[in-house]
Amino acid sequence: MSVADRARDALARLVDASATERILISSAALVLSVLIGAVLVLVAGRMTTCSPSEAVYYFGTGFCYDPIVVFDRLFLGALGDPFSGGWSPDGQFAVTLRETTLLVFTGLSVALAFRAGIFNIGTQGQMVVGALATALGVLWASAFVSGVVGTVVLIPFGILVGATFGGLYGAVPGVLKAYADANEVITTIMLNFIATGVALYLVSGVFKDPDSAANQTVPLAEFAQFPAVLFGARQNFSLVALAFGLIAIAALYYVLEHTAFGYDVRTSGVQPEAAEYGGVDAKRTIVASLTLSGALGGIAGAMYVMMVLGTFQTGIPAYGFDGITVSILAGNNPLGVGVAALLFGVLKSGTTVVQFATDVPPQLVGVLRGLIILFVAMPEFFRLLAKGLPGAGSKPEAVATDGGTVTENGGGADE
């Protein structure tokens, strides 16, 4: 067998892997990335200088960085040190959950679009639009309510505003794709720039907080923000927001697996011709799934404003782009998004712990993080690729049963 054949064969097996196999493959990838990362840490530690007392010794050789400490901080540190007695509800674990909550929404946003066969790179922009709309909407509505009633009313209201505007902003590339055949990858990327640009213009001018040097809106009232429940008060985390995230995961799973709309979306995503045959309105499905995807991105923005910042400020971190990785990591499965977002949250929050606890340069921690994500995401990424590749997975059969039809009909010019 030639190299190409063997590669093709491996891809085919990857495509046909069962759910359990996929989880095993991802776990093996995680272990492998940690091992390779450990070697990198050792090598880097060999190439720097430190006093002999600070060095660790393996195999009779001294190293300046200890991979065991690095990975211990990265993972256990992110969980707030559950085994060493220092665990506190306000500790690092709250940071991890805060990141996880935001990534759940952006991850779901990307995953939904992916399931419909659409590559939504615009979650970031939809998040910005949702965040700005939520901040302005809640500021406006704060005048009418206050106290506990305010919290109960304003939080759902803020989420709704974020979802609506994020959804509308997602509908734009949807309409462009469905009715003007515009590639969504291009349009969503462009719309990201427009979103950040317009947001900057608005909060540096019309809606700028006059008391602040930063480009931000007036801060939200305390009652208009997510309350800290049980833990996280110092870390801007709210269990309520996480609960919303879990509900969103369950809801999206239900929609995809148990509703006619979800069936339409999934069918369009894997085999648009069959979807068309089955009476699916391709255009409407594209617009609807991008709108819903945008709404989820918008909710991420609402969460960021009402839970983390308490205001809208320019320069929202790239949660939308991280959502792409989270979604691929999760195989675009809503339930998987929960797990992938947690892993991603751990890595993000663990990075800061490593920086505090060791001398390891932040760039190296970034490399370790990248390695882990790359390794865990690659099998799923190749699965996605292989599905579009003729001759991988179940496709040889498809070519065969129709004999030459596939090739002969080609682009349909003939029949």
């Binding site: 030639s2 148990h258 509703t259 006619a260 709309f261 979800g262 069936y263 339409d264 069918t267 894997v270 085999q271 011709e273 069959a274 979807a275 068309e276 045959y277 089955g278 009476g279 699916v280 309105d281 179940s394 040889p396 059969e397 498809a398 070519v399 065969a400 049963t401 129709d402 004999g403 030459g404 039809t405 090739t407 002969e408 009909n409 080609g410 682009g411 349909g412 010019a413 003939d414 029949e415």
Partner: protein, 535 residues
């Protein structure tokens, strides 16, 4: 004359399917050899074996008598074989010269730079030698499709091809360009090149080839001399005459008109009329058949009726309502069942299991998904009922569609569509690639539905199928119905003539058809090349 290409007992198996079954092919040097067959007959698979894209399961490829084994197209190209695919592999913004020499450019400065002058000269020389009219400096995006095809041919010749394989070369050409192509082929063979020409069009095979090999269902069913055959004989070879399944369907008890098609026109991407003002009615309780060689507009007509393609003109009525622009979903909900021609592209979602596939088309219906919520347990029961009733094997509703053999996939689709309780069944090649036992079963089911007063529109290129099942039979040719006949009163020979486009009364040719499809007689547009003998 020497045999240039010799395929000896080629068998190519794919999981569950034999695409080529012990096929022999002998091509004489310096001739045009047509490989004729319906879509799915295995022509392209066979040529992909010769071109090194597939390795045969068994059998031997010989060139000039020497056994060869190609592991990739690279090997085949080195051995002097060139293939021109139906869809050109050209880089549009680059010039003709750049495209032709791409990857094997003449070099200068010790291989560091491309010698553009030498490249251009080589292309001009090559074009002159074969009398090709191409501008070496034109950009590919600026030239016509016919010229692009010549560039593809030159590309193969530049790489030293002695044997050229053309896959459905006329599909993208206008009639005039087809004539030009045939001139080119004659010039090439005159200079000793060997041409293998894949086609499913009888007229073109007759017109251009010296010899014709006919494939059907992956088997070679005949090799004939182009001068010593007729379109009727070829049509019969292509379509075949399997064991006539004796279905006694009795006289039709027809009711109201269920579907009515009037003056429907469907244009293809190039604006050519694939369906040209076709009109007919299908009544409750009758089977209306459409016979014809594939590619005469049947697919487009069916797609216009079922709502997958929009008719460019005319009207389609279903149960008295105008549905010409109705959505596909609307038509499904109104009671139109459809067994599509391409089951793996359209009829099934290949990576879904049978439970999910049983829902396809009913996902908005009240029975399995009332108010938008799918009742998976009812859906599972539904799929299991189909599997049970239609003998789908393996009888496992959790099996993914792609794990089933072609015949079982088809039985599942047939079951799903028949169980819709339809008013109209549109069945397009319902038994293609299905084993004999299942064919009989599907036929019986169709006739049962007919008895229950369902209207059935049947398209098939299998003559005995449409003839045996239909109450009225239309013959499609070049997007029109040549005639509508009573299948019991018509012989296969008469049908063969109709399928070749010959009007029952006028006898000779189709006055409206383009010159390529005139049987026999060379067209006046052929130019100054000598008529008659080509080899």
């Amino acid at each position: 004359m020497a045999t240039a290409v010799h395929l000896d007992g080629i068998t190519k198996r794919f999981p569950g399917v034999v695409a080529n079954d012990d096929v022999d092919l002998e091509v004489e040097r310096g001739t045009v050899h047509a490989l004729l067959g319906e879509n799915g007959a295995g022509k392209t698979t066979l040529m992909n074996v010769l071109y090194g894209l597939y390795e045969p399961t068994s059998g031997q490829v010989r060139l000039d008598g020497e056994p060869r084994s190609f592991r990739s197209p690279r090997d085949a190209i080195d051995a002097g074989i060139g293939m021109i695919h139906q869809h050109f592999m050209l880089v549009d913004p680059m010039t003709v010269t750049e495209n032709i020499t791409l990857g094997s450019e003449p070099r200068k400065w010790g291989g560091l730079a491309i010698d553009r002058d030498a490249a251009r000269e080589a292309v001009v020389d090559l074009a002159d030698r074969y009398g090709f009219n191409v501008d070496p400096d034109a950009r590919v995006e600026d030239i016509s499709v016919g010229e692009q095809q010549r560039v593809e041919i030159l590309k193969a010749l530049y790489r030293g091809a002695d044997t050229l394989i053309l896959d459905e070369p006329t599909a993208v050409l206008t009639p005039q360009e087809v004539e030009e192509l045939f001139d080119v082929l004659e010039e090439l063979t005159a200079q000793g090149k060997t041409i293998i020409f894949i086609t499913h069009k009888l007229g073109e095979a007759m017109r251009s080839a010296d010899e014709i090999t006919v494939l059907r269902d992956g088997k070679k069913v005949g090799a004939v001399d182009a001068d010593a055959t007729s379109q009727e004989e070829l049509a019969e070879l292509m379509v075949g005459r399997e064991v006539l399944l004796d279905v006694d369907h009795g006289a039709a008890e027809t009711g109201d008109v269920v579907a009515s098609v009037s003056d429907v026109v469907v244009e293809d991407d190039r604006g050519v009329r694939a369906v040209d003002r076709v009109s007919f009615d299908v009544r409750a309780g009758e089977v209306f058949g459409i016979a014809g060689v594939d590619g005469n507009g049947q697919s487009e007509l069916i797609e216009a009726i079922t709502g997958l393609q929009e008719a460019d003109a005319g009207e389609i009525r279903f149960l008295g309502e105008d549905v010409t622009t109705a959505s596909r979903r609307q038509r499904i909900e109104d009671g139109m069942a459809y067994i599509p021609e391409d089951r793996q592209e359209r009829g099934l979602v290949m990576e879904f299991d049978l439970v999910e596939n049983g829902l396809l088309g009913s996902q908005h219906g009240a029975e399995l998904a009332s108010s938008g919520r799918i009742d998976w347990s009812a859906t599972r029961d539904h799929a299991e009922a189909i599997i049970d009733e239609y003998d789908v094997r393996p009888p496992d509703a959790n099996a993914d569609a792609h794990s089933l053999s072609g015949g079982n996939q088809q039985k599942f689709i047939v079951g799903r569509e028949f169980e819709r309780d339809p008013e109209l069944v549109v069945a397009s090649h319902p038994t293609r690639g299905v084993d004999v036992g299942s064919i009989e079963f599907i036929h019986e089911r169709l006739l049962e539905l007919r008895k229950q007063g369902v209207a059935i529109l049947l398209v098939s290129s299998k003559l005995e199928e449409v003839q045996g099942l239909s109450d009225r039979l239309a013959v499609a040719y070049e997007g029109e119905f040549v005639d509508v006949v009573d299948p019991d009163e018509t012989t296969e020979e008469e049908l063969g003539l109709l399928m070749a486009g010959e009007q029952p009364d006028s006898g000779e040719g189709d006055p409206a058809g383009p010159p390529t499809d005139h049987s026999g007689a060379p067209s006046p547009a052929e130019g100054d090349l000598p008529d008659g003998e080509q080899a």
